[in-house]
């Protein structure tokens, strides 16, 4: 026991005395959360659009007012010819154009049917879809206002509700993903590098020629990073609640428990990587490549898993972040309890056990 404590103390000293590790450990998560929360958001604000109002009647004015009132658009009202609009798109000045036809209001009132032309710059498809859907929503909204007074019996009004994230804010979506990524990356990289460093510096040679058991080395390596990662988790949660306004709807305790489980899985993975690599660089590379890409691409937080080819869907099952992402979304955003995430929890726990076993088995008790 005393052996273990002194081992753990030594690991802490390594971390404290290495500014690089500290920056990695605490700077990285904060930068990530802030970057993803504020800068790299995929919501669109004040996109330049052009509204060409050929009608100049009540209905078109009311719709335009609504569009102008929205913070998504920065509206420029002109009477542009189709070719001028085309040119503006080509120059990249505008992202979208809304064109009201002549007789818009008359058509709407008499024929019960009027059309608006919405032209979007689809060279950036995400923005285009989003902007046009904003416009559609605004128009639908206007229609809904009209309908009580409208005589048409069969007007169908699509009613869209954005659940859990009614304002379509980016942050709630990113926080779980960033949490998964930060915890995984930091834990995996830190543990793998710290063990491999002992190999590289030759201290492992001395440790091997001592009565220290492999299990103790592994536990001693894991505990400091477990503690630091939980501190890290706290920082991320505080940041997301107070800086990004992402509430924790479910139980904080459950969230911390599930995150600890992910941290354990990550530590086990890091230990496993350390047993199969022999230089700090390759360990770093393996954890970056093995963690960063799958976590970003296959966890479902940037791209929905349902939309992936079947092969990738199958592969995504072995990405721990995928399960953690589901858990965090459920607990943090939807406020669900353990009953709805026990399956994901079990999978994560299984992964932790599997990788711990694998690294124990692979731990070399000799130099070869």
């Amino acid at each position: 026991m005393k052996q273990l404590l002194s081992f753990i103390r030594k690991e802490f000293i390594h971390v404290w005395r290495d500014p690089k590790t500290l920056v990695m450990l605490f700077g990285f998560p904060i930068v990530q959360i802030v970057l993803f929360g504020f800068a790299l958001t995929n919501e669109i604000k004040y996109a330049n659009i052009v509204v060409v109002d050929n009608a100049k009647d009540v209905a078109s004015q009311q719709i335009i007012n609504k569009i102008e009132g929205s913070k998504f658009f920065s509206v420029q009202k002109t009477l542009m010819t189709p070719s001028a609009i085309d040119a503006a798109f080509k120059e990249g000045k505008i992202k979208l154009a809304v064109v009201f036809p002549v007789n818009f209001n008359t058509d709407l009132l008499h024929l019960n049917k009027a059309s608006i032309q919405v032209i979007a710059d689809a060279s950036d498809p995400n923005t285009a879809t989003q902007l046009s859907s904003y416009i559609t929503t605004i128009v639908a909204d206007y229609q809904a206002q009209l309908s009580p007074t409208m005589s048409a019996p069969y007007s169908i009004v699509p009613e869209v509700r954005m659940l859990y994230n009614p304002d379509l804010k980016g942050a709630p979506n990113f926080v779980p993903g960033v949490m998964a990524m930060v915890l995984l990356l930091v834990c995996v990289m830190m543990t793998s590098v710290s063990i491999v460093r002992e190999k590289e510096l030759g201290t492992m040679e001395i440790l091997l020629v001592s009565p220290v058991k492999p299990l103790m080395v592994i536990i001693a390596k894991a505990i400091p990073y477990l503690v630091l990662s939980i501190v890290n988790l706290g920082v991320i949660l505080v940041l997301s609640v107070y800086a990004l306004d992402v509430p924790i709807k479910g139980s904080v305790l459950l969230l911390v428990f599930e995150s600890t489980l992910l941290i354990l899985t990550a530590l086990a993975l890091g230990l496993f990587i350390s047993t199969i690599t022999s230089s700090q660089q390759s360990a770093m590379f393996a954890s970056m490549l093995g963690m960063m890409l799958p976590t970003m691409l296959l966890s479902g937080y940037l791209f929905p898993i349902e939309n992936m080819p079947v092969v990738l869907q199958v592969i995504s099952n072995i990405v721990p972040a995928r399960w953690y992402y589901v858990i965090v979304k459920a607990v943090m955003l939807k406020g669900l309890g353990f009953a709805s995430i026990w399956k994901e929890t079990l999978i994560l726990a299984g992964m932790a056990v599997f990788f711990t076993g694998l690294s124990l088995r692979n731990f070399k008790i000799r130099l070869e």
Binding site: H14, E205, I206, P211
Partner: protein, 312 residues
Amino acid sequence: MNAITLNNITKTYNKGTVLAVDDVSLTVEKGEIFGLIGPDGAGKSTIFRLLTTLLLPDKGTATVGGLDVVKDFKAIRGIVGYMPGKFSLYQDLTVEENLDFFATVFKTTIEENYHLIKDIYVQIEPFKDRRAGKLSGGMKQKLALCCALIHKPEVLFLDEPTTGVDVVSRREFWEMLKRLKQQGITIMVSTSYMDEATMCDRIGLILNGKVLSVASPEATIKAYPEQLYGVKANSIYHLLLDLRKYEGTINCYTFGEYLHLSITTNEEQVRKYLQEKGHTDVEFKAIEPTVEDCFIRLLKHEDEQGNSNKDK
């Protein structure tokens, strides 16, 4: 009982393509300082790693403290002290933290075995709050020795402990080893400095993975079969060329400011030969061979054997 035995130990790397240790057998008695002397790449470190259970031999058996290096590796790891050739302590830990850490790892305390390391530790104690990475070469080695000693090992393995250490520190280091020997600790030490060989009780000369001779330094020197001469003249370079051409020469090489020469003829004939060649200021004296001379002789012998094997 022998502290260390090796019986026909062979070790290869890279799936048998690189022969590191070639059929080595030797024994080290309890309480002696045994020196493995040989150039870099001779296989010294491999022997250390085999004995400290870090590597498995391909063939042969070896014991340390009566325990088998393969079967009883766990027990061996508790009774040996090992100081690798490369400085292998935690550079970001202070002197005291390093020592304390290794003491705890070996389930002991600094206080318990302080008497063992006292002589050495007092020298680095003024720097005990300094990080190990910031110590000088000699200090590092002293700290590493303290760490290897802190659990009172039965057998101490020191792999090139004096490489990169200044002459004064080297001498101090060997003084320490002699004191440790008095405590009953068996010490196996390797070095590529031939002058350190005389500090050992017995030495093994190792070359290309083979141990060529095992004896006390005195016996090793006594076993030198020919009379050795130190020769000097006004032009050492031409002297070397001429002596190598001389038919009675067995071996001739530079050694400090002299040439060391072994011959089948006698002094007079050589002097006459040199006079004919026009050398002036010839100094010619019989000398005692050193361990290095023994080593050079073995080296030449090996070379010739290797060549004649190739010729066959």
